[in-house]
């Protein structure tokens, strides 16, 4: 009984080790499985995974319009005060005052790419971009203004 268990232990151990070796052997012989890329050599061939998060951006359309209402939901959602929103009051043609976005300040150096601001945004005004080459010589360059100069909110977004 003891001998049987001893031998079956050995055989199952050898079998499981061989299984592992088969896997690494497969990877060794199949170069097309390689998932790393020659980074600086092939900027055009490089493909990043879909869910990779590099920085927060605010997309603008061709009329230089964005979708941000300045509701500060993202600012409240941010766990480490990366986003600061400065609002202003626009006067609409019929004389009513309306809250609007003045400056969207984004501190890249504080951001952990947690995606909570994008989730919190009610109008899908911000999203995560895939740019990852963030190194600069001056730290103040990491503080970014996300809305383009002269941009305004798209019509019909409340």
């Amino acid at each position: 009984m003891f001998l049987k268990k001893y031998l079956s232990d050995i055989f199952s151990a050898v079998a499981s080790l061989l299984k592992g070796m088969r896997m690494t052997g497969y990877y060794f012989t199949h170069r097309k499985e390689i998932i790393t890329q020659n980074y600086p050599d092939n900027p055009e061939l490089m493909k990043l995974p879909e869910r990779f998060r590099g920085e927060v951006v605010m997309p603008h359309d061709e009329n230089n319009e964005h979708a941000c209402t300045g509701c500060t939901a993202c600012e409240l959602a941010c766990p480490n005060a990366t986003i600061k929103i400065i609002t202003k009051f626009d006067i609409s043609p019929d004389g009513k005052k309306k809250k609007a976005l003045d400056t969207f300040i984004y501190h890249l150096e504080l951001c952990t790419m947690c995606n909570l601001c994008v989730v919190a945004c009610p109008t899908d005004a911000i999203k995560m971009a895939q740019n990852f080459e963030h190194s600069v010589f001056d730290r103040s360059k990491l503080t970014k203004k996300l809305n383009a100069p002269g941009s305004k909110i798209r019509e019909g977004i409340e």
Partner: protein, 358 residues
Amino acid sequence: MFSLEGITKSIDRWLNSTFHPTLALLLEFLIVGLCAITLFAVLGLVLVLMERKVSAYMQIRRGPNRVGPGGSLQTVADTIKLTMKEGLTPDGADKFLFNLAPFVVLTVAMLVLAPIAFAKGFQLWDINIGVLYISAVSSVSIIGILMAGWASNNKYSLLGAMRSGAQIVSYELSAGLSIISMVVLTGSLQISDIIASQQNGWWIFKGHIPAIIAFVIFIIAVTAETNRAPFDLAEAESELTAGFHTEYSGMKFALFFLAEYVNIFIVCAIGATLFFGGWMPLHIGNWTGFNHIMDYIPSSIWFLGKTFFLIFLIMWFRWTFPRLRIDQLLNLEWKYLFPISMFNLLLITVMAIMGWHF
């Protein structure tokens, strides 16, 4: 046809005809020493590169690919970097032993090189106790490791050295027993006799299943003896920073690193000699035609091919298996490898007496 034997013979003849015999002998010593050092350097460069490439491909990476074509000069660059680094000796260390230890380890590796047959008739010293000499001298290298661990005056180094010592002492047993089982089949300790006995087939084929078991035990035991993963508790990075060579830097570290890879080469060369017939080409029984074709491949290529196959096998282990815990390590040796190799030795002895092998 290319043969190393002819080259060495003609050099010997030329030296003896031009110089006084004693001077010729001294010159031959010098040449052999230079060749051994060159071999060490080349082995270090090639094996480290091979290890990095193999590990990269097994982990679905590319590995070094910047320096030279396909990264082939990466280890040269690494060596230049290491030689330019400062060789630091810690203040609390036993300075004499600290500086001596890497040389002890490397000298032992160099001594073990002597009886290895690299090709037909290309062997430094065909000593009549070849295999015993190898296992005797290689047991000295553990002293170098213990010395390094103690002299560093560092708890990690000391723990790493202790672990490494315990491991080498335990696994030497099963490695020795599997070597002895091949010696039983051959009836001689001399390397040239062992190779000659595989004229009509390698022992791993001629010795049936017991020889294969002996080979498996041998390869496990030597992986443990060279302190490589999955048996690398001695330098377990996550717990002991780097084990016995934590305090070493620059060229002294490089010597330890080099000795590790040279030791891998040596144990694989011994494995190739015992189980795969050293430089002996693949011969099958009495198939004269087939054997004749195989003889056309130079013997040095056979030897290096077999050795590098075994090195690749050991690297394959390293990059597949996770590290063992110390109790698992000792369990494996004393509860599995040692009894199995004892039983296997008995089986092989019976086989050799009854003449059941081919």
